[in-house]
């Protein structure tokens, strides 16, 4: 019964989208939004997996970006549509949230979580006059659906320098959300490890995988297991502040993620790779207003102001600021992090002198190795 109903709905939606397609046919070249929209009419929607009110972490970072965009462009509060706590494994919830955004008149919809990808791809076909922009996925279409993400590994490299200079036991722990086969997490670990090696060749990175993006209890337990092994800096690719708090409890140090966690763990935190999503959100919404939005996928880096590290805390070792500044300059001058001689921890050569890994190698399935100073035990 439900299946038939869904099919029926889909058919209706398809029919509707076909007619809609025809309408915009003449101005198709410039993507979904054709002529631009006046600034006081545009409506921007964002779908969050969590709640920005949490005050730290992934969703908070995205929402700060939305707020920055709103300020920069001077949009009123009622021009921003937020859908919070949309579970990214619940197809019905995602669809409902997207449909609500459409009904409320959104011109561009940002979906911030990986799991929204398929439903956004589907809805983009149904609503060709609305722009769908998805974070961290790989799908897009040739008119109104793109994806955006960033070179957070550049920031991880810098954070690695802070960690490498701080550690005394030469054991650095890393609480990872996903295992080796997840390119986003693994790329981050490798860049972090390379940053460490650049200042402290003796230090090793110990990885514990929680297999979840969000679970404070598990993240804390993983951090404690790493602390038990003697790690004295805890880095994380996890959404909560739990690993940093675990480090603070034991009187050692850590590198957070997503937002500046110095305020959460003031005695432990060194610096965190952070996102400044405002850079993308502002550019994207501005393009929609001006009518020159294109479906090109966005993969911004430090040069675009999309990723950075949070201000160094007083816990950092002497000389950290200088070392990081030098590395930052190198990256801005074109150092790609994943370039030159790179060996994994099983002795295989991943990259040769004079070569570098392509973006698809960094974000795709080939990023399934750990750098030579990473220990996964």
């Amino acid at each position: 019964m439900l299946k038939r109903l869904v099919t029926l709905l889909l058919i209706v939606a398809m029919a509707a989208s076909m007619t809609a397609c025809k309408k915009t046919d003449d101005s198709k070249e410039s993507g979904g939004a054709s002529a631009g929209i006046s600034k006081d009419k545009i409506k921007v929607a964002v779908i969050h997996i969590g709640n920005p009110a949490d005050g730290a972490g992934y969703t908070y970072a995205h929402d700060q970006g939305i707020i920055a965009m709103q300020k920069e462009l001077g949009l009123a509060d009622n021009q921003i549509i937020r859908k919070n706590n949309v579970d990214d494994t619940d197809a019905v919830a995602i669809k409902t949230a997207l449909e609500e955004c459409v009904e409320e008149g959104a011109h561009i919809i940002f979906g911030t979580s990986w799991g929204y990808m398929d439903m956004m791809a589907e809805m983009a076909e149904e609503h060709p006059d609305i722009i769908f922009s998805h974070c961290s996925g790989y799908k897009s279409n040739d008119k109104n659906f793109n994806n955006y993400f960033g070179r957070i590994y550049q920031a991880r490299y810098l954070a690695g320098i802070a960690a490498g200079l701080k550690t005394k036991s030469n054991k650095i722990g890393y609480v990872a959300a996903m295992g080796k086969d997840n390119a986003e997490v693994t790329g981050g670990i490798n860049a972090f490890a390379m940053g460490i090696e650049s200042v402290n060749p003796d230090a090793k990175v110990y990885v514990k995988v929680t297999n979840t993006w969000f679970d404070p209890t598990l993240e804390k337990q993983a951090a404690e297991a790493l602390l038990d092994m003697g790690c004295d800096v805890i880095a994380q690719h996890a959404d909560t502040t739990a690993p940093q708090l675990a480090a603070e409890e034991r009187g050692v140090w850590g590198c957070g993620y997503n937002s500046d966690m110095t305020k959460d763990a003031p005695k432990a935190h060194l610096t965190a790779p952070i996102w400044k999503w405002g850079a993308y959100y502002t550019a994207a919404v501005k393009a929609v207003i001006e009518g020159n939005w294109t479906n090109e996928n966005y993969f911004g880096g430090m040069g675009d102001g999309l990723v950075d590290i949070s201000p160094l805390s007083e816990n950092c070792a002497d000389g950290t600021a200088e070392a990081i500044e030098a590395a930052r300059k190198r990256i801005l001058d074109g150092y790609k992090v994943f370039e030159g001689d790179i060996f994994d921890n099983e002795g295989n050569q991943i990259c040769k002198e004079g070569e570098f890994l392509s973006d698809s190698d960094i974000t795709g399935g080939k990023m399934n190795w750990y750098y030579r100073n990473v220990v996964a035990e």
Partner: protein
């Protein structure tokens, strides 16, 4: 390594022990309260808020206990007095509790302007410290006598409950009500009073598990998304594992706690198993235990006969 693992297992098992002890208390009096998750949520929020405002561990725990009692009283009112279906009521309580914690949690966050953090002195009062003298014993000192205060409280409560259930008159009455409310009633026991008291006590103990999760596991910061995260449901499963015996629950929660941290302590370079396996393990074991206990013909260690059945005095 092993010591660290067992130490972590005890910590991970502690909130489960609270939940399990509370639920055993409830079920032994003949009521299946599936609201453990919800009561833990409520206890988690109230204890955190109290700790945030007053900086007192005792007050925070009392507040959590009181909230659990109140929440369980709603359940008792609905099932014992109004004869509502126990399963449905319990499930409703679970959902309500989660909503309660998130609703007030969010308002607490927005009032504080960012995630509120407990004071340093409070965090110190719940930190892991070796007990004087006992903590100096090699190996055992670290393993048994270097915990945060809630670990000791959970074990003391479980021991008291065991003694209460098996060695006291009131405990005997409670078990009688749980096995056959009609017979207990005929013997002159006030069935309703017994049910109310033990449902409420059980709820209070469950809520302490929530306090553990928000105060200790949270590391001093309130996490509004999912502070309990299914621990209440594991506690319900543990009741079966522990064969309705709080003393066995101490062991059972240690085992389940061990499973939950096992994945971080197994040397990956020697034993390589997918993470999903570790997540599955506690439930696999529960299933096995269920099969084994159902094959045994003894009457010992099975669910109280009257558990889940409402008592209509008029239909005796």
């Amino acid at each position: 390594m092993i010591i660290n693992f067992l130490f972590a297992a005890i910590k991970a098992g502690c909130p489960l022990l609270f939940g399990t002890t509370g639920e055993i208390m409830t079920e032994k009096s003949g009521n299946l309260n599936l609201g453990v998750e919800g009561m833990m949520f409520m206890g988690a929020f109230v204890s955190f808020y109290t700790a945030y405002k007053t900086d007192s561990l005792a007050l925070a725990l009392l507040a959590a206990f009181g909230t659990g009692v109140l929440a369980a009283m709603i359940y008792a009112l609905l099932t014992v007095s109004l004869m509502a279906n126990q399963n449905v009521t319990g499930l409703a309580l679970s959902i309500f509790g989660a909503g309660y914690a998130k609703f007030f949690g969010e308002s607490m966050i927005s009032k504080a302007g960012g995630s509120p953090k407990l004071s340093e002195s409070f965090i110190k009062s719940i930190s892991e410290q070796p007990l004087p003298l006992l903590g100096d014993i090699p190996v055992l000192g670290k393993l048994l006598f270097s915990h945060n205060p809630l670990v000791y409280i959970s074990i003391i409560i479980a021991v008291i409950c065991t003694i209460y259930m098996s060695r006291t008159r009131a405990g005997l009455n409670m078990r009688a009500v749980g096995e056959s409310a009609a017979a207990a009633d005929a013997a002159g026991i006030n069935v309703y009073a017994v049910k109310y008291i033990h449902i409420c006590l059980g709820g209070g103990i469950c809520a302490l598990g929530g306090a553990y999760l928000s105060l200790i596991n949270g590391g001093g910061i309130w996490n509004n998304s999912n502070v309990v995260n299914g621990q209440g449901w594991i506690a319900v499963a543990l009741v079966i594992f522990a064969a309705w015996n709080p003393a066995k629950a101490i062991f059972g929660s240690l085992v389940f706690g061990a499973f939950s941290v096992l994945q971080f302590y197994v040397p990956r370079n020697i034993i390589e198993l997918p993470n999903a396996f570790y997540v599955m393990l506690p439930f696999l074991i529960t299933t096995l235990i269920l099969i084994i206990t159902s094959m045994k013909k003894t009457k010992k260690g099975v669910q109280p006969a009257g558990c889940g059945i409402n008592y209509f005095r008029e239909e005796r």
